[in-house]
């Protein structure tokens, strides 16, 4: 009995099994959890983390790291609001936000890949620079949205489901495909597995890494726009600490920090587990201070499980 349980938990799909069990338990035990309204609320609460996790997965899979995502999300939100207020065109505002995100990501990528500066240090620096830019642009205050159409990005619904959730789902689909079915995805995993061997096998390692960070910037831009729309303003202090939630979700989803190992399904499950934990604690009125502890414990348990799984595969 225990042997079989061990086999299931430590197998390839162990995380999914745990997720299903946790979901069932929470549904049964927490009142008001399994309602349409709460489910949509839960999904909406993970939109930002989920979107950014898509590309963070690539970053980690290539043995890189990106701490600047939270700042880029805030900055892109500011840019979206300010640019659309200034031009009167929401579309221009959105494009400007995405372009800014892409630009910061591109700079990250070039510094890391071409000048060979450690990714942790580089993005630690851009994290602060970009946050500073957001604060300067708005003089430290929130900037209100002029056009009510901008709110509609977050408020509008398709088939009863809010647009941001659709965006999240589409991005999950796209990046899952990119990881498994494209040269870019396979090269990313190969670089994480062995960068030098990948280079000698003809992979353009530098260009791939620059693309990864640029994409990360683009995706942060999208997340920033949706966040600004949801909170109805550009907030220079938005998304503080987002990078840690995103990396936690990825690691929870089985992405290896040593590179070379990542799955989209794992990351989706990681994002949802974090969301469910938070949602259930809110429903149970557990104070926010305790929630930090629970989140930390969940992360540790996930990593321990992953460790057990690798050694079980190695030793039997």
């Amino acid at each position: 009995m225990t042997d079989r349980l061990k086999k299931i938990l430590l197998g390839e799909q162990g995380l999914v099994v745990i997720f299903v069990v946790a979901f069932a338990l929470v549904s049964a035990l927490v009142p008001n959890f399994l309602t349409d309204r709460n489910m949509l609320g839960l999904l909406q609460s993970v939109v930002t983390v989920g979107i950014v996790a898509c590309t963070m997965m690539f970053c980690l899979a290539a043995r890189d790291f990106d701490l600047s995502v939270g700042s880029i999300v805030a900055f892109a939100g500011m840019v979206a609001v300010m640019a659309s207020n200034a031009t009167g065109s929401i579309l221009l505002g959105l494009l400007a936000a995405i372009a800014c995100g892409a630009f910061v990501g591109f700079i990250n990528g070039v510094v890391i890949a071409k000048f060979r500066i450690n990714a942790l240090i580089t993005t630690l620096a851009t994290m602060q620079i970009v946050r500073g830019l957001a604060l300067i642009a708005s003089d430290g205050r929130a900037v209100g949205i002029n056009s009510p159409d901008f709110y509609q990005l977050a408020l509008s619904k398709l088939l009863g489901i809010p647009t941001p959730i659709w965006v999240l789902a589409v991005l999950f689909g796209i990046f899952g495909f990119v990881l498994n079915r494209t040269v870019f995805g396979k090269n990313t995993l190969a670089i994480g597995g062995n960068p030098e061997a990948s280079r000698l096998a003809g992979v353009n390692v530098d260009r791939t890494r620059i693309w990864i960070f640029t994409l990360q910037g683009v995706v942060c831009g999208i997340a920033g726009i949706l966040l600004a729309s949801r909170i109805t303003s550009g907030q220079p202090n938005a998304a503080v600490g987002l990078e840690l939630s995103v990396i936690s979700a990825c690691v929870l989803g089985g992405v290896s920090l040593a590179g070379g190992r990542a799955t989209m399904s794992g990351v989706i499950v990681g994002v949802l587990i974090m969301g469910i934990a938070e949602n259930a604690m809110n429903l149970l009125n557990i104070p926010a201070f305790y929630q930090y502890i629970v989140r930390g414990v969940i992360l540790l348990l996930a990593v321990l499980l992953d460790n057990l799984r690798s050694s079980a595969l190695g030793r039997r």
Binding site: T182, K186, N194, A197, L200
Partner: protein
Amino acid sequence: MSFLDFSRITKTYPGVKALSDVSFGVDKGAVHGLMGENGAGKSTLIKILSGDQLADAGEISIEGKVQAYASTRDAFDNGVIVIHQELQLVPELTVAENLSLGRFPASAGIIARARMLDDVGAKLKSAGIDIDMRRKVKTLSIGERQMVEIAKAIMLDARVIALDEPTSSLSSRESEILFALIDRLRGEGKVIIYVSHRLDEVFRLCDSLTVLRDGKLAAHHISLKDVTRDQVVAEMVGREISDIWGFRPRKAGDIRLKIEALSGAKLRTPANFEARAGEIVGFFGLIGAGRSELMRLVFGADPRSGGAITVDGKGIHATDPHGAIRAGVVLCSEDRKHDGIIQGRSIEENINISSRRHHTRFGVLNRASEIATAETFIKKLKVRTPSRKQDIINLSGGNQQKVILGRWLSEQGVRVLIVDEPTRGIDVGAKSEIYELLYQLAEDGMAIVVVSSELPEVMGICDRILVMCGGRISAELNRNQFAEKAILAAALPDKKTPDAIAS
């Protein structure tokens, strides 16, 4: 009953029976050879001995006492120590610190340096190991590091010491020192398990020998007195190999690769050479002669500072591997682990990583062609694996080499194949297979460049040999001029130091 007994050891991995029912014994004070082809089960047996893996069935006993190790630490504590090909030392610590690691003589947490140096010094002296114990390990040569690794075993009062391919990266002088040390340990009554591909060494060192084949015991020789080398080779492969080189003469065609005045940061003297279609050109030299550096320049792995590379009359201007691959020049690096295999990814992905660009559309993979390519080359190159999805790290050295060759052969239109140390760490059977493959590729019109530190190998398979010494090409010999003495003389620097010849 012997001092160390393996009894009916069986181990199955998913899809492979690595060991089945292997039993043999080793006496005290004996050096016992363990031979077999890649995948024969040597490594698995060593892993079980070291506590790294658990046997499915069977047991190991020392002096009649059954040993049950839950970890390598357990094996350590019972005096069983395995010295792997990849050494386990901390580069930033000194020799003395490495040897005391985990058992620092200390009071109140402060290391008693004088006592540490005394203890280590005494042990090193009694073992006859002459290394300055104040030096940091990172400043030592690989041979010296190996000595430190063995010293560690001595410090721990090991009863059983297993050495896995200890000479694979040693020069012949370093090997001699190692052999002397092993002789001394034998005299002290230790049991030495010596895993090697090299028949010469096994016959020189070992008292007894076990040969494994396909996970089964193929032969157990209590004494090597009446055993011949051919016999052992036959036991390993399960058939007679009359001529391991199997050289076949070919006709050379037009010039494929032309190198003119090529130089780079690590190779100052400009190099010139050419290779023709259908020709196998060998590069021989001592370690550090500049052979690998030259090949890395040709492949664009390192940037070149001057010179021209021409393939079939067309110059290569790109100075990165990608440009070389497009021009039909590929390189199998000498350091497979660092520069060749992509750990954590499957055989399939390792084969397709480069050639997949021919089959993709807008960057999207063609799954069917990737699977077909992988299956084709696994079959064609006889890669031993349960599945194309197997992580490449789980394969033996020879099979990894075949996968890397498959990576390049799946590229359409390879004109020049450069192989650096094609058979390093690879056993006799797989060697012949790789040579045969090189002949076939040459016959199909490729120009092949083989870099090797093994003189018999370059003499056995090449049409022409270029000798390098101190960063320049010092001699060129055609097959009818091949002579061991002439080649060695050209490989040695002016100060004649014959004992520095790489084995």
